[in-house]
Point group: C2
Chain length 415, copies 2
């Protein structure tokens, strides 16, 4: 009962290694020639698949050019001066591909900077009262203590998940202010100017991310959930079709297994889902008929889908074993099949039992989807004429033909 197909994830690395060995120097030169063309084709393909990546890149370019104008245009530079560099830095670091991620990072940066600034000024105030040596020792000690405590705090799972970036910026700003305050007399003025330029940088980021072709994390989360559900549906469909031999099994080790392709995205989706839900929670309501994106409900649905996915994975494994068995038994006549032995009936029973298990898991998924529908105020799906996007789904309940004399597993001793 060794599975015929070790999963792509495991074998892929081996295949890549073999390919590498074959490419000797001769081929390499050819490849280097063709390399720019290959990169270009890959880039064009990625852009066609998801045009939002292109718009985001152009948005970043535009934002950087705008913020550079602070430096390049004479009147603007006179007002702001050298500190304009902080605006450039803010734009590079804060502008992310979705509105939620940008807001999350921007606000983390803002709060981190603000708290660090306040604390640094407090310490500066205490240190100012005393002599130069005491001041240096005091600043050094506080840098050590704040550094160690803050770093330790970053290990707390809750802080790591939500505020990791903010805490890092806090530490960075605190150190910059505390240390440079020792040399510069008018720290408050510098902080003031920097605050303005960082605000300008954040402002440009916000305008770019919220007003110009905005991409929403909530939307991404919704779409990824849909594609996961569709993938699972395709997997189950392929599983059942393959089991009842309605399609030919023409794929081999190197080809893609449609069942595995369908459910693999679901299995490792946890951290991705949680990040998107976290970012979505920062986003304002962004559509007329939809309230704030219920990110946590999507995470719950994702967990239910993963549980369902594990059953599908087991079903897939069971099917692989089954196909192996079938090939061995192909010569056996139909009559013999009704007199299966226990060891032969086992995979059959496992397949059926796993399908039943999958239905139970599907029940949980359906409940979560319904709750999500309530929370997110989904509207009913209406089919328009000539619109292929919406299809009416008809669920047929077929009563299974129960034939007591034929369908039960026969035991050996009666034959």
């Amino acid at each position: 009962m060794i599975p015929t197909k070790v999963h792509a994830e495991v074998t892929q690395v081996k295949v890549v290694e073999n390919v590498k060995e074959e490419n000797n120097m001769k081929n390499m030169m050819k490849k280097v020639d063709r390399y720019p063309g290959r990169v270009w084709r890959a880039a064009v393909k990625m852009g066609k698949e998801d045009p939002r990546k292109v718009t985001h890149s152009l948005k970043v370019g535009l934002a950087l050019t705008l913020v550079s104008l602070l430096y390049l245009l004479e009147p603007l530079f006179e007002g702001i001066g050298d500190n304009a560099i902080w605006a450039v830095m803010t734009v590079v670091v804060v502008l992310e591909s979705t509105a939620g991620a940008t807001l999350c990072k921007g606000l983390n940066r803002g709060f981190g900077t603000f708290i660090a600034g306040s604390l640094a000024f407090l310490i500066e105030f205490i240190a100012n009262e005393s002599g130069r040596v005491f001041r240096a020792v005091f600043i050094g000690t506080s840098v050590f203590l704040i550094g160690a405590i803050t770093t330790y705090m970053r290990f707390f799972p809750n802080i790591k998940k939500n505020f990791d970036y903010g805490v890092m910026i806090f530490l960075l700003t605190f150190n910059l202010i505390a240390v440079s305050s020792y040399r510069v007399d008018n720290v408050l003025k510098i902080a003031h100017e920097r605050f303005y330029t960082i605000a300008i940088g954040c402002g440009i980021c916000l305008v770019m991310t919220l007003l110009i072709f905005p991409h929403w994390s909530g939307e991404n989360l919704h779409n990824s959930t849909i594609s996961k559900i569709e993938g699972l549906a395709k997997s189950i469909d392929a599983c059942v079709n393959e089991y009842f031999d309605q399609i030919e099994e023409t794929y081999d080790e190197s080809n893609k297994d449609p069942i595995y392709e369908g459910f693999k995205a679901v299995l490792d989706s946890k951290s991705n889902d949680e990040t998107m839900a976290l970012h979505a929670s920062w986003e304002p309501r962004h559509s007329r008929h939809c309230y704030k994106c219920p990110g946590q409900q999507y995470v719950k649905l994702g967990a239910a889908l993963r549980q369902f996915g594990y059953t599908v994975a087991a079903l897939h494994g069971c099917l692989r074993t089954q196909i192996q068995k079938k090939k061995l038994n192909k010569q056996i006549s139909k009559i013999t099949i009704t007199s299966l032995e226990f060891s032969e009936a086992l995979p059959l029973a496992a397949f059926v039992s796993l399908l039943v298990e999958a239905v139970a898991k599907l029940d949980i998924v359906i409940n979560e989807v319904e709750e999500l529908g309530n929370l997110a105020c989904f509207s009913e799906c209406v089919k328009k004429d000539g619109d292929d996007q919406y299809e009416t789904i008809t669920i047929k309940y077929e009563t299974p033909r129960v034939d007591l004399d034929q369908d039960h597993l026969p035991s050996n001793r009666t034959e």
Copy 2:
């Protein structure tokens, strides 16, 4: 056949919500009073569980204090000047909790800065030849183009995985140099000074991470793999024990399910494994009897373990259904059990079949572990007297009692 226990992952959120509702204002005040104590206890607990978190925090504090001395000590400051601030920034951003992560980030930062600097000087060189207006337009255009292209490049999965941080630093440095070169005449001198201070920052990070209580990503990867294997073993053990009723099922919904606790860490381990393997690949050989950590083999083993984990998850689901069934059938005598109906035999067959499936998956795991042992030159495990850490594992093969007349599934029609 609805499972009795919806998985902890799904229900946990509900439980938390209920608890939240119960805590009204009265309780909240009490909680605020006790909050510092709770945080302190949580911090102490975390430190006891993993003392490396404490040492890392102290290391960061020490590194920051050392780098602050550049500013605080008169002779050092005279040599370096205001640019010392870049050393502080480097230490905060680059120093990570493991040697591999620090090296990865530091080298990414170094290469990113170097390439960006070279490119910026090239553009500066072209721009210098012409008039002031053309120069501004040229710099603006190049900022836009480089910004857009670099951001688009970050979407390539390969670059995102390995060099995301380096590309960001490239963009940051390029913009800083390109823009500030417009106003400052002697950019080369500034760049030179900054390079020195960043090198000092990186140097402090390297000393801290490689020489003082070093923590290795490779070691973390190894330990996490061990704990995953142990967790799976405990799960399987608990599954089989529970199935044959050797332990009492005393836990309820709120208690932790030992089976689920055992395998849940395995299921979502993909991204974590890959990050640790990536960092481990940057680490030098760090032990006398061990060659470079074979990170990719750990990733392959992790993939095999996940496949095994999916089967255990299915087994767990099957067991939950089975326990439900058992409770219903507790009154039925032992004699009736031998005359199970098809629908009752189904979960039994599924459980057995899944165990067989698990054995097949375990075979793959064993192969991967053996290959890992070869690659990483594991030494044989020798038991020392009085040392509880190593236990001799004896595997007993028991021939199952096969009783053809009793053990096969009986059909209905013979009763």
